[in-house]
């Protein structure tokens, strides 16, 4: 993977950007999913947003990716409103979906080349060379002709990351990058995210409930609980949190005699 930086910086040499979230609220009818969320992702850092399933992490990512509109509050990139950024296409965002969201009717090569082809960024020969190089960097050689359904979960995530990187994004967003993976493959994905960030200094936001991921590669970590973020931690301060929700999240206890989802005995 030694050439990652070279491939990326050939065409673009931009400074890392920051993400600002200010009093963000999202509700579906009367149900408030995110309430008064404020945070800042510093340029070039990895920010990990953690929280239990159903806490609104993916909704937050959709808002940031511009796939849905907030009910109130402001999202901005380098102090510029997200709507304006989307309209002018000033910054490129690569979103790596939980499922990979690869195009099932296309080969892996066409999946990776789609963005470059449709935006007419390079000629076909250059696209071929970039895709091939990216595949070999992510140790995915020899799969260009395969269909997404022929890949394992870990490979799909890596292809999705390759697709995101080929966009040469200013911001990389990850939705549960280690879910549904065995521990070793999950570790390799964590290494990859950390390595890419170190090499390319792309501002990265990872949504996950993987504590190991957060503590290994996160520069800042926030925990989402019932639509709120109470505090923002570093990997060092996270285990020392005094909040019971955070402590329970990091070290959950299992009580087989009293499952927590059952109603209390009358």
């Amino acid at each position: 993977m030694a050439n990652t930086k070279q491939l990326f910086s050939e065409t673009r040499n931009r400074l890392p950007v920051s993400i600002e979230v200010d009093h963000l609220k999202k509700q579906f009818r009367n149900y408030v999913v995110l309430d008064n969320i404020s945070l800042k992702v510093e340029p070039g850092e990895i920010f990990v947003l953690m929280g239990p399933s159903g806490s609104g992490k993916s909704v937050f990512l959709d808002l940031l990716a511009g796939l849905s509109e907030p009910s109130s509050g402001r999202l901005s990139i380098n102090q510029e409103d997200l709507k304006e950024v989307k309209r002018t296409k000033k910054y490129v965002m690569g979103l790596v979906f939980q499922s990979g969201a690869l195009f099932n009717s296309m080969t892996i090569f066409d999946n990776l080349a789609l963005y470059l082809r449709e935006h007419r960024l390079f000629d076909e020969q250059e696209i071929r060379s970039r895709v091939t190089q990216m595949l070999s960097m992510l140790t995915l050689r020899g799969i260009a002709h395969l269909m997404p359904s022929e890949l394992s979960g870990g490979m799909r995530k890596r292809v999705a990351l390759a697709r995101g990187l080929l966009m040469e994004p200013d911001i990389l967003l990850f939705d549960e990058p280690t879910s549904e993976l065995d521990p070793i493959t999950a570790a390799s994905i964590i290494e990859l995210i950390g390595y890419v960030n170190k090499q390319l200094r792309i501002t990265t936001l990872v949504v996950s409930h993987d504590v190991m991921l957060a503590q290994t590669i996160g520069h800042h970590i926030a925990l989402l609980n019932n639509g709120f973020i109470q505090e923002i931690y570093t990997p060092q301060t996270l285990p020392q949190s005094s909040q019971s929700f955070v402590r329970n999240f990091l070290n959950p206890t299992v009580n087989l005699n009293r499952p927590r989802f059952l109603p209390p005995a009358s």
């Binding site: 979906f97 099932n104 963005y115």
Partner: protein, 247 residues
């Protein structure tokens, strides 16, 4: 309310598709692919259905006209006009709905459910340009060919019946002469105009249903069913109004 929202979305999709037509040269490969799916692969079923449709029409009409002496000589014109003005475009539209419309909804629906459409959006690529416009163009290009094919095979079906059924006492030459006498270019054009309107409606409804699908596999199935129902109702209603205007 939901129906109004759907039709508002269909109109929005129509205008967006018109806007994206400027990218047609770059999407020519995708359009060609859709032409193959909609045209070439639909041809056999259109052929079979149309031959039988023409045959049944000749059979029913021939039987009724056998009670009126000399009236069977109009069989060619009846089958000819019915096929080119009405049954050709209508049956082709129904087949396109069942075979192509449902496939479009299922494909776009699964792309929506499995976030592929969202992936396009995050890549600053318009789903309308890549997914809807080629299908609409494919439908508009292929529908006239399918309709002409259906009409001609319907005429042939009618002719085969006149030659093989005892109670129809006209020969082939009379059948074709009567058909030629009454079927003019205007009738064929009217049929083709209807076909184009139907193609537009089918591709837009099925694309809209697909893009609006949320949930999982069950919702994809529901969207396909809704596509069939909405398209068929729209086709029949439009058929009535267009016919009224054209007559």
């Amino acid at each position: 309310m939901k129906l109004l929202q759907l039709w508002a979305f269909i109109f929005q999709l129509f205008f967006e598709t018109c806007k994206e037509l400027r990218y047609l040269p770059r999407q020519i490969g995708r359009c060609f692919e859709q032409c193959c799916i909609m045209g070439y692969q639909t041809l056999p079923i259109v052929g079979i259905l149309s031959i039988f449709m023409g045959g049944i029409l000749a059979l029913q009409t021939g039987y009724s006209l056998s009670k009126l002496p000399g009236a069977q000589s109009f069989l060619g014109s009846i089958v000819g006009l019915s096929m080119c003005r009405e049954l050709g475009p209508l049956m082709t539209a129904f087949l396109l709905t069942g075979r192509v419309g449902s496939a479009i909804t299922a494909e776009l629906g699964s792309m929506s459910v499995y976030k592929e459409v969202d992936a396009l959006r995050t890549m600053n690529l318009s789903p309308v340009r890549l997914l809807v416009m080629p299908r609409v163009v494919g439908g508009l290009l292929m529908m006239p060919f399918l309709t002409i094919f259906s009409t001609v095979l319907g005429w042939l079906g009618g002719w085969i019946v006149t030659q093989s059924v005892n109670f129809i006492s006209i020969n082939g030459a009379i059948y074709w002469r009567s058909l030629k006498q009454y079927v003019d270019v205007e009738s064929i054009n009217d049929g083709l105009l209807k076909a184009e309107i139907f193609a537009l409606v089918i591709t837009l409804i099925s694309s809209a249903m697909g893009l609006q699908t949320k949930g999982g596999p069950r919702e994809i199935g529901t969207s396909v069913t809704r596509t069939l129902v909405q398209s068929m109702i729209a086709i029949l209603m439009l058929d009535y109004f267009v016919t009224k205007v054209l007559l």
